[in-house]
């Protein structure tokens, strides 16, 4: 039963990996621009993430190796280096965007410019990792992340028309402005299906010393954890759809997004928005930095753990330290977090197939997953996801140039 409490890992991963600066921005823009019509993209993204997260967990529990371990061991050093360098650049940009998200939330509340918050946020995140352990990080952020339920509360209070919401859950073609529609669809998927999510989750499984007994709880965690994030993201879209869409307001800045909580919740809505933004981006900061540190340590074969002192994994600890510090510089220099978010989502989409394709091989290799190989559903899902990821990778940059 205690294993089911490890759903906290799922919720944390979900809050940091699923609902973060990119997801909030794209969900709000989708709601503002197209009402409920892009709901199906959220559903699609959630389903993809659930499958991939479950597979990451199962791979780790059975093989006792993380996803990155398995990727180097099975595909070789060439594959590791070819995939890790673009991944590093993308993660660094995403990390800067997340730090920017927290900084923006603080700007909303205090009025002090976000550039000034960059280093305090960086130091705070770093301290959390340096002093804490994975349990603290997971449980702490999962708990704090409950404040993001404000989006759901707001959405409900706005009384969205149920039939329109449900209609939006089914795929539909855009009524007009096709380029923007598809660009938003691709952005949402890029924001939801992030590689660092899987690297982090699989590392968390190893740190938690999962084994074959965890297969069931892993499935539960993947479904419940990711669905929780999906519900939150959906709340964002619904609230934006109710507040902005009828008025034809396009979301251009984060300060506007905050308004969607103010209408249903009054003045506290502003603070709740800032809190939700801060916590989800904080969680994402930790997750991206850790995810990248895990990838380095596992790819090169170093010791890595957050569950003991940094002195026991010096290189691992220094990777996340340098990542956070250097990413904060971008924000301190005044790079616009929202623009950075949009840009890094498109780049994430481009690197996605490199992460999803190996699953096809690994989840069918008995050396890694033993008797817990993918059934036909799992394989159909992973092949489908890889095709989708490849399609998204191809159109992401052109769409951004055309319609973003």
């Amino acid at each position: 039963m205690r294993r089911y409490l490890e759903v906290a890992l799922g919720i944390f991963t979900s809050i940091g990996g699923f609902l973060e600066v990119g997801a909030i921005a794209t969900a709000a823009q989708a709601g503002a621009g197209f009402g409920f019509r892009l709901g199906w993209v959220l559903v699609l993204g959630t389903v993809c993430v659930i499958f991939l997260v479950e597979m990451s967990g199962r791979l780790s529990a059975v093989s006792k190796h993380t996803l990155q371990d398995a990727m180097r061991e099975r595909f070789g050093a060439g594959f590791f280096l070819v995939t890790t360098i673009p991944g590093l650049i993308v993660d660094w940009l995403v990390l800067a965007a997340e730090i920017g998200g927290v900084a923006l939330a603080l700007q909303l509340v205090t009025g002090i410019g976000y550039q000034w918050w960059a280093f305090p946020v960086a130091i705070g995140s770093w301290l959390f990792l340096w002093k804490g352990n994975l349990r603290l990080v997971e449980d702490g952020v999962a708990l704090l992340g409950l404040v993001a339920l404000a989006f759901v509360v707001a959405a409900v209070r706005l009384h969205p028309p149920v039939h329109a919401v449900v209609a939006g859950l089914l795929p539909s073609l855009p009524p007009a402005e096709g380029t923007t529609y598809w660009f938003l669809a691709v952005s949402i998927l890029g924001a939801l299906i992030s590689p660092y999510l899987f690297f982090f989750y699989s590392s968390g499984a190893i740190e938690g010393q999962w084994d074959e007994n965890h297969i069931g709880s892993n499935r539960f965690t993947a479904i419940v954890g990711m669905s929780f994030g999906a519900v939150l993201a959906f709340g964002v879209m619904l609230a934006a759809a109710m507040v902005f869409h009828p008025r034809g307001i396009q979301v251009e800045r984060y300060e506007q997004v905050a308004l969607m909580l103010v209408e249903p919740l009054g003045r506290p809505g502003l603070y709740l928005f800032a809190a939700a933004l801060a916590v989800t981006c904080f969680g994402a900061t930790l997750e991206v930095a850790l995810g990248r540190a895990y990838v380095f340590a596992q790819g090169f074969g170093w010791n890595y753990t957050l569950n003991s002192l940094p002195t026991n994994s010096a290189r691992f600890s220094l990777v996340y330290t340098v990542m956070i510090g250097s990413a904060a510089v971008l924000i301190a220099l005044g790079v616009d977090p929202l623009a950075l978010t949009v840009f890094s989502m498109a780049l994430t989409a481009v690197t996605l197939p490199l992460v999803t394709l190996p699953f096809i091989v690994l989840m069918n290799d008995p050396a890694y997953v033993g008797e817990y190989r993918n059934g036909w559903i799992g394989n159909a899902a992973v092949v489908g996801i890889s095709l989708l990821a490849s399609l998204i990778a191809l159109v992401a940059i052109p769409l951004q140039l055309m319609g973003g």
Binding site: G76, G78, W130, G299, G301, W302, Y304, L309, S317
Partner: protein, 120 residues
């Protein structure tokens, strides 16, 4: 047993289960009239870099020898020390003090321990 599938790029762990690195290289000994035999496995960033390009390896080696512990981090483990080949490659060594750990230990002592507020 296949080289790429079972040995190369696999995780090496020491007697205590500490991670030493991935198998970046394998040394074969050529013999007259006899098939080549595995003499050693090698762990190290220079060995890894050489698989991309020898010039990259030279560059990496230059940097590693210039700073920090001034070690290129290459550890050659004789095949006789290999105890098990399975999910990891277990070797009969203690990781602490080996060339593979040179940078880890140097960074621990000269950077990590010096950061304020770090428990020792």
């Amino acid at each position: 047993m296949n080289l790429t599938r079972d040995i190369l790029d696999q995780q090496v762990v020491d007697r205590a289960g500490q991670r030493l690195g991935k198998v970046d290289g394998v040394i074969l000994e050529l013999r007259d009239g006899e098939p080549p035999r595995i003499a050693a496995i090698e762990v190290g960033p220079v060995t890894l870099a050489r698989r991309i390009h020898p010039r990259l390896a030279a560059w990496v080696e230059w940097w590693l020898r210039r700073f920090g512990p001034r070690s290129d981090g290459t550890l050659r483990i004789p095949w006789s020390k290999v105890r098990a080949i399975g999910v990891d490659i277990r070797v009969d060594l203690v990781a602490e003090g080996t060339a593979a750990r040179a940078w880890e230990e140097w960074l621990r002592d000269h950077v990590v321990r010096r950061i304020p507020g770090t428990p020792q």
